[in-house]
Amino acid sequence: MAEASYPSDLLYHPEHDWARLDGDVATFGLTWHAQDALGDIVFVDPPAVGAQLSANQPYTEVESVKAVSDVFAPLSGEVIEVNQRLSDSPELINEDPYGDGWLLKVRIADASETSGLLERDAYVATLDE
């Protein structure tokens, strides 16, 4: 994705992860800033369905040609679906970080945790620092 973009319907974690909420199911992924900083992503190995994630804790790593980065869970919950296409095509995270490059879906444990996340403008403000 050539241009920086940060959809306003998402919530953002300061460590450059996003969450999209749909009832009690949240989808997680990496922001445009994260994939841009990493460069060409070559490998990601997400946790299995059933794994328990804790908010603000790293739950996997994403590897590019030049770096490895922790991926942080914006919210706590149980993994209910993993994006299988990423094992063959990790570059989807670069090409479409908010769409086809989604990482996984969780059933969230505590909706009030969303108060710890940032709205789009607040997140974008952190990028300028």
Binding site: G39, D40, V42, F43, E63, S64, V65, K66, P90, E91
Partner: protein, 504 residues
Amino acid sequence: MDHETAMQRDRAVTIFEKGQAGRRAFSAPAIDVPERSLDELIPARLRRKSPARLPQVSEPELVRHYVKLSRRNFDLDTGFYPLGSCTMKHNPRLHERVAGLPGHARLHPLQDPARAQGALALMWGLERALSELAGLPHVSLQPSAGSHGELAGVLLTRAYHAEHGEQRRTVLTPDTAHGTNPATVTMAGYEVVKVGTNAEGGVDLDDLRAKADRDTACLMLTNPNTLGLFDPNIAEIVRIVHDVGATAYYDGANLNAIMGISRPGDMGFDIVHFNLHKSFTQPHGGGGPGSGPIAVSERIAPFLPRPVIVRRGGDGTNGSGREFDLDYDRPKSIGRLRGFQGNYGCFVRAYAYICSLGAAGLRDASETAVLNANYLLARLRQLGVTELLPPAYDRICMHEFALTGGPMKHELGIRTLDLAKRLLDHGYHPPTVYFPLLVDEALLVEPTETETKETLDAFAQAVADVLREAREDPEIARNAPYTTPVRRLDEAGAAKHPVLRQAL
């Protein structure tokens, strides 16, 4: 591909794809002992069922393959390598000749020390010279490389604290540190705590004071640092660290700037490692071998790896009849980091270098390294290069300096990587790129003392030429190189779908 060079037309073929069944380069000596069936000697079930599919080539095929392959390499004998943090200085061939003497090259490591006195005397001599350079009394030549020496240093620190009944948790390291430092710390069971850099490029003393506490085992840093800057507060930094009872470790990667001028021991450090493949001319060999000896203070000495080289009475009246010996009786030693005594072949070369240069020559090397670096920076300034690639810190540098490619990226639309690739077409190995991480689009330049002024002038001109060309057409650099045996390679593809051996 109309402009393919001859070497580019020559496609890569591995040795496994050459040869034919039945060809051989080796002739086994005739079996001159009574023939026994292998089944008798080694039960069939322990034996190999299918042979390793090694190449089957004649000797001329073998030689031609590897000689042709060698020509696809750039090398230091051929051209300039201003690689920051690597100290790519000339590798004298004298060192190869002496290292190849059978008395050195064909000496078994477990030979009786009484019949290896030449080797032990050489190692002793090298230790004394390194001790003198470090300003620290005790040396171990055992570690295999700089990062191995670092690991030794942190393990020594651990042993030191354990001896004092303490179990500390953290190791402080500046955020400019070479990548090996944090990895070493983790392997030694400690946590990394990063210390900030101030506006002048030195350690942020306030941040250091805040973070140094009774949990700190050690501070690891190098001075001059990875920006090529000598930290004027170095004595105070070491004092702060010692005041909390921690050890101070000096990464000797940048020793080339200060030999005979300043000594880490005088700065207060407890442990120093040397890279024989940097300041001491051990050839880099395309990525090894190296050697990483360490020098330590009195309080750290008891924990040194074993064995230690000792010098007994030269007249042999103490009964052993030998002047030098290997001492294994070291109850507090951390033990061993590897087999045998270390990379002796590297010791021979470093020792020959020190014999060649002597005190005055070593000092000359450092003075010239610093002069060359500052001159190259001045030349780049004169040519206007530093307007697009300004120095990260505008100070007199030591033996290397860091430039930032931020303005170049912004104004010309080419990155440090593109500049580096275009320099390949000019016949240079580019400087180190994207290190240190603290500097945006970093270019770290270390010319070393063995380059002439003419080479420095020509290199500066080449950089200026690349920038001028990019101003007119940035696409050229973005698609460089053009004249190398292969052009820009798909590194992402190599990591995504790794092919790590020849399919057979």
